[in-house]
């Protein structure tokens, strides 16, 4: 610094006149940056924002009165009620399952561990339609299990609410586990060992140490799982039998309305689904912003 800076000519020639504008080696030039940003914005607008706007535009095409009318029809109300009920059962089930699976995979070493990880990912890769069909084969009234349940307990699974719940659980079960596994693996068992050495029992360790350590990941997982549970179409379409007012969830009802040329009703209901997704996003972003410091602290392994 000293020699060059004190020498007027050398200082100027190196610092300003001849050298081009320097960017850090890992940063692209301005032009490339703008092109990339523009590309992303264009793609997102075309494939995400435009359809989303269309949903709301179509829903309000005949005015707010017609829009609200949709939510007075018993079919739509039944579909909303069923969707909320299914999510209310499926999400807690997957919450418990997700924590248990993540705990097992992250904190223990056992043969078949990687296989178990692949199994958890299976619902991501398998078509929901196939999952629905398998359930029909396994639990339909003509199958051994389905027949037994129907005869002895008069419980119907396929073409009824239990089937929809089962299909939804299957399709959404990786969400919470997937969110937790990397974090729990990263955190290891050090904190748990510390808690145990201080005299805590297993449940105290779980509730005071393990759960608080993963609470943000858990919350994200639950939000994503919930969004998917409410929006699931394929598996539910196969397994529900689409009995109007009984086994039709919101996505199914949207399709029914649409096929009957009730497009305002279809888009109105679809807008509610979209709004639920947007609310989920907003909550997630707000939590990230509000608790940024805590999240950063939780992510770091000190």
């Amino acid at each position: 610094m000293s020699d060059l800076a004190t020498h007027p000519i050398a200082g100027r020639s190196v610092g300003t006149t001849f050298r081009p504008v320097q960017t850090p080696p890992t940063t692209e030039s301005r032009t490339v940056q703008y092109v990339l940003v523009a590309l992303v914005v264009a793609v997102l607008s075309l494939f995400l924002l435009l359809p989303l706007a269309t949903v709301f535009a179509q829903a309000f095409r005949l005015g707010i009165g017609e829009y609200l009318n949709t939510f007075r029809s018993p079919e739509a109300l039944a579909a909303i009620r069923l969707t909320l009920l299914v999510a209310a059962i499926a999400v807690p089930c997957n919450l418990i399952f997700g924590i248990a699976a993540a705990w097992t995979i992250a904190k223990y070493r056992f043969p078949g561990r990687t296989f178990l990880v692949s199994l958890i990912d299976l619902p991501f890769s398998i078509s929901p339609l196939v999952a629905g069909l398998v359930y029909i084969l396994l639990l339909g009234t003509n199958s051994v299990i389905g027949g037994f349940l129907l005869e002895n307990f008069e419980i119907r699974i396929i073409f009824a609410v239990p089937g929809i719940v089962l299909a939804t659980i299957l399709v959404t079960f990786p969400f919470i586990a997937r969110e937790l596994i990397p974090l729990m693996e990263d955190q290891g068992t050090g904190d748990e060992e510390a808690a145990l050495s201080l005299g805590a029992n297993g449940w105290q360790t779980f509730f005071f140490v393990t759960l608080p350590n993963v609470k943000w990941a858990l919350l994200y997982g639950v939000l994503l799982c919930n969004a998917r549970a409410m929006g699931e179409f394929g598996a539910v379409a196969v397994i529900s039998g689409r009995l109007r007012g009984q086994t039709v969830t919101m996505p199914l009802q949207v399709e029914l309305f649409y096929n009957e040329y009730a497009s305002v009703a279809a888009f109105s209901l679809a807008s509610l689904l979209a709004a639920l997704a947007l609310v989920t996003l907003v909550i997630k972003s707000w939590l990230e912003w509000r608790y940024a410091d805590q999240i950063a602290a939780a992510g770091r392994g000190h």
Partner: protein
Amino acid sequence: MELIIRNIRKEFDRFAALHDVSLDIRSGELIALLGPSGSGKTTLLRLIAGLDFPTAGAILFGDQDASEKTVQERNVGFVFQHYALFRHMTVAENIGFGLKVRPRGLRPSPEQIRRRASELLELVQLPGLEKRYPSQLSGGQRQRVALARALAIEPKVLLLDEPFGALDAQVRRDLRRWLREIHEATGHTTVFVTHDQEEALELADRVVVMSQGRIEQVGTADDVYDKPRSPFVYGFIGDSSRLPVRIENGELWLHDRSIGISDIRAPNGSGTLFFRPQDVELVDGCSGCIAGTVVSSRRVEAMRRVELAIGGQHSLVEIELPIDHPAASRTRVAFRPRSWKLFPESTAPQAERVIESA
């Protein structure tokens, strides 16, 4: 609390991390488990704590067999290498955790727990940090909080895994002195693991030197430095130079030259001669000495360290000379170790065959 470790063996899968280790630790003693990584020192510490269980052998706390007891029942204070502070709890909540999770009848009131946490923060010289989170503390402060948390449960023994491993040199030195003071103030039996010999020798009442799952030597800093009982200890503690030698009728030979060192107790055959680089005398004209060609010389603190090739490049040894000593500029240097140790090569237990300089 006295600690007795009896014939402990620990296997992970089929790999033996500890082979038949026995150790008696007196009540109130400060003990260092010292060894390179993979020597089994942390495994031994975790077995004492009850975080792992031995494959064979017993661990006694006083006259009680603790081998079957869980980590909770053993009531040990364990300070983890990376502290394992609970990141979502404040410093005070961290320290009070061990008291908060006690069964209802034994649990102090929240007010008492708060007061105890403040007292302990006072003890570890961090008063007023009750409301901070671990992420807001420096490494040295976290270390102190971890110790305060371990002390809060009034443990029978205090176990520390590489307590200063993650800290920079200056903080290490300060904390070392401070740990010694805490130990003297509280009187807990304390065992700590370290790979840093300076730390072990300076801090501990006795040092347990470990290698490859075995205890090589147990003794005071003076014992392990001045009277190493195995080639490993000689090589691991402090600087050392070694030379392969031949023993004939008690005389030590290097290739075809006698090196002027003899011991009539040494059996004929080959062996290894150990000496400290700083503990040599230079001699002129070599009849009965070690002579070598200077390969390199470098400055080590107040001394000059000279590397010599002995007997045609085959073995390299280091000796230390005063900075202004004329020999450092010569190409050939002759010397004789002032004190040394000979480990004859044999299959018999090393400790019995060790021959020391007078």
